[in-house]
């Protein structure tokens, strides 16, 4: 009698363990998927900071514009009609990249270039104050302009893939489900990161951007147009963050103030990665995604952002230069 009860208990415990492990894996996969998107979101900000030494407080709002650009490409500008409801959203999201890159290019040319780059090379501190005020101002204008233009109704870029999943496994009675839209989002994010990493490390343009970041005066001595390098970095950074926004929008509804929700993730990711390291910013974003999703195992959802902050503070406390911080001094 007693024996049978023990066996039943054992089976029950086994199920609980399986469920727990399954939950951990599920959270891990969810973290990796969202982390890849956070990764390129941070890379956009990190690229701008790394090359220009400008902290762009409007980055979240450029991301919001990217979401709406993808949304309107899909719904109004015919991408949905041409590519269908399944793939149309992804094509629209990719299109949001160059659209916002162009917006970034123009905003840099008209506004940011007035308070950054070679013009302010001699100003030191004063230049930074002007940058802070300007990018905060742009953020406010974009948020409120967005409210006027797009309204406050939640929008989203849904694809049928958002509500279906691949099943990985079963391994040892466990299986993990991957939302198809999120899976494709993550693959696209990783592909964009790989492309950007190649561009930065190998291409002539990438090397010039890094040289301008290292020492803008010496870059000028080489014949590199540093203001142009900054314009390109700003455009690229804006476009990449815009794509990240579009990818998020396949699973999360958005509104004109959505940028504010993500700036914390962006800054935390860039600092974690080591200010100025582009690959580092990606891993910083990835870390944030993992922490956020893993924290759901033990914390209520409302505390996810608190978990991000705690881990952020811990890492900054123990490794203030970030994961990828350089030990090589900048000259």
């Amino acid at each position: 009698m007693g024996r049978r009860r023990d066996a039943r208990l054992g089976l029950k415990q086994g199920n609980a363990v399986t469920a727990l492990v399954e939950g951990i894996f599920q959270a891990l996969v969810a973290g990796l998927l969202i982390g890849a998107i956070y990764g390129i979101m941070c890379v956009g900000l990190g690229l701008i900071f790394g090359v220009m030494r400008v902290i762009n407080f409007a980055q979240g709002d450029f991301m919001m514009l990217g979401m709406y650009a993808a949304f309107y490409c899909f719904t109004a500008f015919g991408v949905g009609a041409v590519f269908g409801t399944t793939w149309g959203p992804f094509v629209s999201i990719l299109a949001a990249g160059p659209i916002l890159a162009l917006v970034g290019y123009v905003v840099h040319r008209l506004l940011i270039s007035r308070v950054s780059g070679t013009r302010t090379a001699s100003l030191e501190g004063e230049g930074h104050h002007a940058q802070l005020v300007l990018t905060l101002g742009i953020a406010l204008v974009l948020q409120n302009g967005g409210l006027m233009a797009f309204g406050s109704v939640l929008a989203s870029i849904r694809t049928p893939l958002s509500s279906s999943a691949w099943e990985l496994g079963p391994f040892l009675d466990m299986s993990v489900f991957v939302n198809k839209a999120r899976g494709i989002d993550a693959l696209m994010a990783v592909a964009i990161m790989a492309g950007l990493a190649l561009l930065i490390s190998r291409s002539r343009l990438g090397k010039q951007l890094r040289a301008a970041a290292d020492n803008s005066v010496a870059a000028t001595y080489m014949g590199i147009d540093v203001d142009r390098a900054h314009r390109i970095a700003f455009a690229l950074g804006t476009g990449i963050t815009a794509i990240a926004g579009g990818l998020l929008a396949t699973n999360y509804p958005f509104h004109p103030f959505v940028g504010v929700d993500y700036v914390i993730v962006m800054y935390a990711g860039v600092v974690l990665g080591g200010m100025g390291s582009i690959v580092g910013a990606f891993w910083g974003g990835m870390t944030i995604g993992l922490v956020q999703q893993m924290s759901t195992l033990i914390l209520p959802t409302q505390l996810q952002n608190a978990a991000i902050f705690v881990v952020f503070l811990l890492i900054v406390f123990f490794r203030p230069q970030g994961f990828f911080g350089r030990n090589v001094e900048r000259t």
């Binding site: 290292d214 020492n215 080489m222």
Partner: protein, 235 residues
């Protein structure tokens, strides 16, 4: 080749150069010497466009340099090897050299240039994949010179290439420069604190003090000048 005429320049209301005139002819080796703070680096920065002069003119092969944006000037054939080396620390040695070759001429002559640069400064070939920020001071100076040469310049401007280096390494770099000049016939404008060495190998020299040219002349006349002998050569 390079004509600087009555140039005045400074930093936000602090005048540094007060009517400096300097002439460098094609093929010449011209040295500028003078005490700390005389304005030698400010002069170089004015040529490169980092400092905007308040008066005077700079022409290079007939072109008005001051009318050109700073980043266009290297493309005319002016290489600036700056004070304190200023290599790109997070770029490899090879990438630093590639940045030198951003100019049209540098791109065209890349293969031939890199071969010669490695011949003159073999340490750069040995360390081609190392990050420039991890090189020693002397190696960084050689890289800064190599980077300048990679642009296929007509005029090579060097601002205190011996700064902060041990005498042995400074000597070595100086000898390399003499060799490079002999083999390439390059026009050189050199700023140096090592007055004896600079005046010995230069064709023509200028003494800059407190923002003014106080003395100029050819190799022999300068070295024979009592003031130079006293103030700079310690004789």
């Amino acid at each position: 080749m390079l004509t600087i005429d009555a140039l005045s320049a400074g930093y936000s209301a602090v005048p540094v150069l007060k009517g400096v005139s300097i002439r460098v002819q094609a093929g010449q080796f011209v040295a500028i010497v003078g005490p700390n703070g005389a304005g030698k680096t400010t002069l170089f920065k004015s040529i490169s466009g980092i400092v905007t002069p308040s008066a005077g003119s700079i022409t290079f092969e007939g072109a008005d340099l001051l009318a050109l944006p700073p980043s266009r000037r290297p493309h005319l054939g002016i290489a600036h090897v700056p004070e304190g080396r200023q290599v790109f620390p997070s770029l490899s040695v090879m990438e630093n050299l590639e940045m030198g070759a951003v100019t049209e001429a540098g791109r065209r002559d890349w293969r031939a240039n890199i071969e010669r640069i490695f011949e003159w400064l073999p340490v750069l070939a040995e360390r081609r994949d190392q990050l420039a920020g991890t090189l020693s001071g002397g190696q960084q100076q050689m890289l800064a010179i190599g980077r300048g040469l990679a642009s296929s310049p007509k005029l090579l401007m060097l601002d205190e290439p011996s700064m902060g280096l041990s005498p042995a390494i400074a000597d070595f770099i100086f000898e390399r420069l003499i060799d490079i000049r002999k083999q390439s016939g390059l026009t050189i404008l050199l700023v140096e604190q090592r007055v004896a060495e600079a005046l010995e190998s230069a064709d023509h020299g200028y003494v800059l003090e407190a923002g003014r040219v106080v003395l100029e002349g050819n190799n022999q006349s300068l070295r024979a000048d009592d003031r130079v002998r006293q103030a700079y050569l310690g004789m």
